[in-house]
Amino acid sequence: MSIQTELAIQLSATYRLQWEKAQDMFVLLYPEGLIELNQSSAEILQICDGQNTLKDIVSTLEKKFSTNNLESDIKNFLNTALDNGWITQST
């Protein structure tokens, strides 16, 4: 599977993104599991809200971090996230 550019991306219903104060990081929670996210993964997943497409996510984050070369990193991460079932794209 790979990300379809024209479709919005959302977190899967079985996953929950949450800020953990004790660990000072975002985590992804699912049945009996926990994924500790680095900052860039957390930045991406926070805007997988069912409204944004790949292009929207890239432009939001490039603006936020004043850079213009994030597309391939973001796309790679989202493809992994899709394979792992963390995110979905509705048709």
């Binding site: 599977m1 219903a13 079985t14 929950r16 949450q18 953990e20 004790a22 660990q23 985590v27 929670l29 699912y30 049945p31 009996e32 599991g33 926990l34 079932g85």
Partner: protein
Amino acid sequence: MAGSLKAPSPPRWLLAELTYSCPLQCPYCSNPLDYANLSTELSTDDWKRVLKQSREMGAVQLGFSGGEPLIRKDLVELVSYSHKLGYYINLITSGYNMDEAKIIELKEAGLDHIQVSIQASSQELNDFIAGTKSFEHKKSVAKLIKKHGYPMVLCVVLHRQNIHQMKDILEMAIELGADFVELANTQYYGWAHHNRDQLMPTQQQLHDAEGIAKEYQTSQQGNMKIYYVVPDYYEGRPKACMNGWGTTFLTIAPDGVALPCHSARQLPNFNCPNVNDSSISDIWNKSEAFNYFRGDDWMKEPCRSCSEKDKDFGGCHCQAFLLTGDATNADPVCDLSPQHQIVTDAIEQAANLTDDKPLVFRNSKNSKKF
């Protein structure tokens, strides 16, 4: 024995074993053999204190387990309290006594997920292994869980008596709409250790079952996630004990004993702390039991000089104790262990089991004999 001086990482997982009572009698239960003598249970307020202190330490995954957690009358109250604290809450249940009203009530209280165990893909075998008529009810509970929007995890413990049903088990999981399936080869602790000869599958059975599991893992990708818990007696390398002793997991037993792993109360002279006497922070950071196997100061050879010691931490200490009598020995499932023959002998012994040695079912009557 002192562990590393570095401050330990905070607990991430709290397993709250609310009660040892259970209507089922599975002969592979991981509860202690003598559970019937441990009938004291923490009060609702005790549990709330444990939940609050553990959450403050960093625990975020919470499992309500047992025994059968649905037996506790305060389950909904504890779920609601935990939800307000921000836990991701898992209910690990046999489904027995669950009905639609309870499923709705728990959802409204903030329960995130329900894991239902099924013992087999056929009514006859399920009800035999569970020691209780429960198959049809479990299936209807699984459907209700889906209906009310929970992610549904189906857990099937595998052993010699049901592993040939692998294909039917997976087809049943698809039919029930499971999001995740946990195919858990029996781990030999507690009752399972006692019944090991009758539960241990053969190499051929495992080979066939693993092939089917892999096939479904591929064909169900993106639809149903299948976890296959390997049978460590056959693996040649041990499992990484609890992701590292005292690094991630905190188990609280029904009577308030705090354990770095749910089997640890069987370790002799271990002085496991109790939440009635100490705070979670003191238990986690300062108690002898939680520091005992932290770091690698405790290790003997062959683990000490092993290049894989940071990967498996010497394996499972409870298994080392059960099989060799010394928890600081290498887990003998490792083929580098000088005592590995204990494991190969156990496999052979089970394979050569000819008489009809009966399974000993987990119930209070049998428990009182231990």
